[in-house]
Amino acid sequence: MTTSESDKWTLYGQTFQSRLLIGSALYPSPAIMREAITASGAEIVTVSLRRQSPEQGGGEGFWRQLKEMNKTLLPNTAGCHSVKEAVTLAQMSRELFETDWLKLEVVGDDYNLQPDPFGTVEAAEKLVKLGFKVFPYCTDDLVLCQRLRDVGCQVLMPWGSPIGTGRGLMNPYNLQTIRERIPELPLIVDAGIGKPSHAVQALELGYDGILLNTAIAQAGNPVVMAGAFRNAVNAGRQAALAGAMPERQTASPSTPTLGMPFWHQQ
């Protein structure tokens, strides 16, 4: 039986213990962000780039805090609506964050922030050729995931449900199918996770990790919730390694029927 201490996983050649990737946005304060990230045990933190006026110090305060935490950074292209925007923002991120890791997001629909599958594949292909290590945020479509794999993505991140909804895994069947058909790549459920039970479910399905932000940052107590997610991810992973019992259509008693009292031959 693999223990959680020795159960490491690898993303683009880097080995990690924690299977929880965490966002750095939406916390009540920078101090709570730091505490929550620490409590979550996450080793990978997502960040972004935005316009800032010089008066805001170029985001220096936030950036300094995060650097002090010594986490692996995963810059995103959140908000990009075209391949060109995503590729340009990726190049800017690589320079500023000094990493070729990239969480690729190409928005296809503003209503539910659904990723554009066509733009995501096109951007991923360009970025892989430019030397990026692409973590594509995508819908839970098997063929889309296969295309992303084929253009060189070595990690896939299908959504559980739309960003910030907290609705959990909308389509476990789709997610399970992706897991079964793409056994060779690390899979991360990204977006839509709202509760620790959703995290458990994702890991039980055989997913290698989860990426979330709002579920912790907007919780009543983000630091306590971060700990809950840490435990949930471990529980889900242990369950996946252990192997769940097969489901049955009919009841089956767990207590032995042999020797049942109060029963007599008529």
Partner: protein, 100 residues
């Protein structure tokens, strides 16, 4: 320093009959290196001859802490010393922020 000096001209209104030395309806009103660009969606006037490295400093940005795109194309930091903006350019100056 960057590129050529730009000659700015203004078309005369047809009903104005100035004692111009210029017979054409185009009147030269000045020679200028000044251009107008958009920096993070804010209009700024600057010299066409000054490289991006100097302009960033004038605009109070620390070049080491931002990343630049001009007209949605990435401009690497290594090019700032020699990169000159054109009139109408749209400059994005980005810095790290929280992200999900």
């Amino acid at each position: 320093m960057c590129g050529d000096v730009r000659c700015y001209v203004r078309r005369q209104a047809p009903d104005i009959r100035l004692k111009s030395r210029f017979p054409s309806p185009i009147q030269i009103v000045g020679i200028s290196n000044m251009i107008t660009v958009s920096v993070n969606n804010e209009r700024k006037e600057c010299s066409h001859e000054q490289p991006l490295s100097l302009l960033l400093s004038q605009w109070n940005f620390d070049a080491e802490k931002v990343a630049i795109a001009v007209n949605e194309d990435f401009v690497p930091r290594s090019q700032y010393e020699h990169y000159c903006l054109e009139d109408g350019d749209k400059v994005d100056v980005l810095a790290p922020v929280q992200g999900g």
